[in-house]
Symmetry: C3
């Protein structure tokens, strides 16, 4: 896999892993619960994508580096360096960063696996919203994705559609990617006002 794509995956993983660790803290889970919920939030979307693509073990299982952002997120939350009440705004920013990056990487990885345009869009959305949905389901909460306050899946869908369009037109994602991520991120942040 491309180094840049991997870097983007890892940053997105970190952002979602933080959300998992914070939910674990709010629910009074211990350190093991925190690791599990962070893993699910950070890696769940990508694992679901890879299982659906169906070409062997998920990337997160093949490459140990995927665990680094999860463990970093857990440590930062357990040591209190990341804290919910104080940095709530910062965390929504992190989450929006994760959403905007994962709809891109999910779409690109599905594309490289040779799937159809529609499948790429659906897998981009799955990657972007899957981890957060698993996090909430496993912690026995109604998924944030169903929260009527704040648009969540629509920006991810738009990002995936734009990414497939860019890939179809053979545009360089080195240039188009940041622009698409910025659009998704901005839409998500505006919806939270």
């Amino acid at each position: 896999m491309d180094v840049l794509l991997l870097a983007v995956e890892l940053i997105g993983t970190f952002a979602f892993a933080v959300s998992g660790a914070l939910l674990a803290a709010r629910k009074g889970f211990d350190v093991v619960g925190s690791v599990l919920l962070s893993s699910m939030a950070g890696l769940g979307g990508g694992v679901a994508r890879d299982v659906l693509i169906g070409y062997g073990p998920p990337l997160a299982l093949q490459n140990p580096i995927y665990l680094a952002p999860v463990l970093l997120a857990v440590v930062l939350v357990l040591t209190g360096l990341l804290h919910e009440t104080r940095l709530r705004r910062t965390l929504l920013v992190f989450d929006a960063v994760g959403l905007s990056l994962f709809c891109l990487t999910g779409t690109v990885i599905a594309w490289e696996a040779g799937l159809t345009e529609l499948a790429c869009v659906l897998l981009g959305i799955t990657t972007a919203v899957g981890g957060g949905a698993m996090r909430d389901v496993v912690a026995n909460e109604t998924p944030q994705i169903f929260n009527p306050r704040g648009v969540y899946a629509v920006p991810a869908m738009l990002g995936a559609v734009l990414a497939v369009t860019a890939l179809s037109l053979e545009l360089s994602l080195l240039w188009a990617g940041p622009g698409i991520a910025l659009v998704v991120f901005t839409l998500r942040m505006i919806s939270l006002r």
Copy 2:
């Protein structure tokens, strides 16, 4: 895939998608939540089946037509053309139609993938009850399948066993299929009285 099998899959998808859209409406989810819950109810069983069979991306990802019944169901519920209190009975009929068709298609698709008889029965049941279970789990409800009022999994199991028997005897499913579906449908409707 056979055109007839695809048609049966799409009708079943529509029936379950309606159940998802209605649950989304009852829980106050917005249009995006409605699309997600309908997709999960309508496509979740078949996606689980295809992931378990393990021969590449699920049919619902490969063929865009699978999304059509989901979107139709969402539109019909959002516009109020399908409405819970008025048509509760009608909906149980739809749901029973979905159940009776999906235990057939699930079994046949597993059979065509070359699995053993028992695996075909288990995947027929998974296809029939999987989408509804995912719908309820994701919406944070105890799955209907565990509701002691009304038999749900038993008719699906019977249908899958009958379908495997028909396939083993090389009977034409063009003739046996409608008979099996009718038995499953009738059993389910009787249990609801």
Copy 3:
């Protein structure tokens, strides 16, 4: 698959299936709900492992024998031979046996599929804790794995790490296996005091 490995899998399946049948009884589910929850608890971890390994249908679908311990557990609970209030301690022992066996079998099966050491450890943990997590999520309970009272995932992780170490050193699991299982079992039981 090795006969010994299969035997260990079946004993672990039985232990977890009992936990599923007991939860179904506590929640007032009928016999069908009991079968479903037992199947999920007993087979869910192994099915998740096999789906993540990605080499075709899960073992539990290919080999009918996997259903035997599930059905046995359901019968024992429904007939009242296994009963929660009287045998609570016994059941925690069963559950700990399941945990200690499944972290071994999960790791070995992943190893035989040619995955990396880290992936084997992660799949060992998934196999050990996955069924119980599915059981609780589907029954709309907060998973026991997040219960701050009693360590659950840590013994499984230790067992998986020890199993990978033994496999790497080409030790005979005929000798190392029982030792590892005993360590995991003991740790789990001590944490419950």
